[in-house]
Amino acid sequence: MSVITGSAALRQERDWNIGWTDFGPFLALLALLVVGFLVNPDFLSATNLGNVITRSAFIAIIAVGATFVISSGGLDLSVGAMAAFITGITIMFMNSMAPEWGVWAIPAGMAVAVVVGTGCGLMNGLIVTVGRIEPFIATLGTMGIFRALITYMSDGGTIPIDRSLREAYRPVYFGTVGGIPLPILISIAVAAVASFILYKMKYGRKCAAVGANEDVARYSGISIVKTRTIAYAMQGACVAIAAICYVPRLGAATPTTGVLWELQVITAVVIGGTALRGGKGHVWGTVAGAVILELIANLMVLSDFVSEYLVAGVQGVIIIIAMLIQRFSK
């Protein structure tokens, strides 16, 4: 009998398959750590790795959101500008509430951030889905809009957070729980929730289906508009969470906050193993991708081999090599 009916055999096979694809980014990460150590042994010191991973949290959190968008067949170029805009709104809100509510302005501001972020994401989503505009263009447009708004709100300058709130807010970036920096925990939590949504919930299936083949999704009763719009809204929420962690680190929103984050975010997602044309998303791969990017930057600072003019070039080379390692490892 050539037809298999046992389901035990099935499980084995499947896990094996998924394993390989998922390993790629982690292999690249490993390779990078080894190279890093050879370049400068300090690279592997606990403080340094702690710093680097902590700071990769912003990109990681946003990129987790982008994993939804990209897996559902979309793209969001506006995330960096949106982060700046949300940071601005949040700080302004907190500052205005601080005199009355004191430290309570902080959680209130965080709630505002999430609401605004989700709203911005929703807007992106609706323009793309209902307006049926190519995501690249739609979000390039909203990128301009968010960037203009933050510039306008800050009068071209900065929107610093009220001094009275600083100390209370600091731990959100600088605090640790059980020795682990809070941003790392937050990004792990975000990734965990995301992978639950993407791999365990109904919505994850819809997302992958819409990204893989719109027609099949439609004929299966899955709403493309709804699915993709939700992905954008979640992206917005993730940007908000990243913004919340960002404020205590830099203490202000400026017109240049988050410039070019979109490229880093998309790079993290792709390095993580999610295809840009949509389909299956790889949440943990995305997180690894974000860490890889930050490690590369860190390596550049720690090494003394490279002329300061060539840093960007060496980063480019490393990224390409990292991708080749992935290809190769498959």
């Binding site: 680097v52 510039t151 900065t158 610093p160 830099l250 400026t254 600072v301 003394d304 300061e308 960007a312």
Partner: protein, 293 residues
């Protein structure tokens, strides 16, 4: 022997002026590292505020820094991180874009941006006899940009000089070229142009030249770019003056910091580089043909 470590953290070369900063910082590092065997200068560039904060963390994670010379990407965002470095016992020198909390700065060296705007304006008032139509090109939305504009606006307030238009061209010559073309299309009568940075002035001059318009009498910049200083030196009619804003200030800052560390010559406080008008007479002093800027 314990080497003294001086970290220099500056923005990446994202336009001509910052490129000059990188050039001078690296040149200074090379000189110092050969001249002073017990001092090590490390230069790191960063393409954004966030990256610069990271670089600070990275620089101070491994070793103790004796001094930090920093040209902050933006003021507010770097204030807390620089404070953290200072709290570890590092001497802090800040260049150009100041921090929000001035008390962190052991030494602050900067150009006088208000003066850049004011001195240029004064020249225009004088040359145009206190009246005429102006257009202005400004840089990247930052405090420095605001200060130059403020210095300029304050100076022309009481006159009949009228700013027809003012827009951002991001300290980029290409954008300035386009913007100037558009200004020319929009306004039939323009007496003078001010671009608050020489990168932009290059674009402006090209656009004016190409249009063949004769109404524009003056096109001024600022920053002391060598090509513009050369024009001043040669007595160019359209650009007869210039204000300096030398990127070499980073070098000065590095040397002053070293003097502090090794020379037992305590230098503290604020140093403002004046922004006098460069004219044909004194232009030679400001002309450095080998500088990339």
């Amino acid at each position: 022997a314990d080497k003294k470590v001086i970290a220099v953290s500056i923005p990446a070369a994202d336009h001509g002026w910052t490129a000059g900063v990188v050039y001078h910082a690296q040149a200074a590092a090379k000189e110092v590292n050969t001249a002073f065997p017990d001092v090590e200068v490390v230069v790191k560039t960063s393409p954004s505020a966030a990256a610069q904060v990271s670089a600070l963390e990275d620089l101070s994670a491994g070793r103790k820094l004796d001094a930090l010379v920093i040209l902050p990407y933006s003021s507010e965002e770097l204030t807390t991180p620089v404070k953290a470095v200072k709290d570890a016992g590092t001497f802090i020198t800040v260049v150009d874009r100041g921090l929000s909390d001035a008390s962190i700065q052991d030494l602050y060296l900067a150009g006088d941006n208000i003066a850049v705007g004011r001195n240029t304006a004064k020249y225009l008032i004088e040359k145009l006899g206190g009246k005429g139509n102006l257009v202005v090109l400004r840089g990247i939305p930052t405090v420095i940009d605001d200060e130059r504009i403020q210095g300029f606006n304050d100076a022309i307030k009481e006159t009949e000089l009228k700013v027809l238009d003012i827009q951002y061209a991001n300290w980029n010559s290409d954008e300035a070229f386009k913007l100037m073309q558009d200004y020319l299309a929009k306004y039939p009568q323009i007496d003078a142009v001010w671009a608050n940075d020489d990168d932009m002035l290059l674009g402006v001059l090209e656009a004016v030249k190409e249009s063949g318009r004769k109404d524009i009498k003056l096109a001024l910049g600022g920053n002391g770019m060598k090509d513009i200083v050369k024009k001043v030196m040669d007595g160019d009619a359209m650009t007869p003056v210039e204000t300096p804003y030398p990127p070499a200030m980073i070098k000065t800052a590095i040397y002053m910091t070293i003097a502090n560390l090794v020379g037992q010559a305590p230098v503290r406080g604020t140093v403002k580089l004046d922004a006098p008008l460069i004219t044909q007479e004194n232009a030679k002093e400001y002309y450095f043909p080998d500088s990339p800027f």
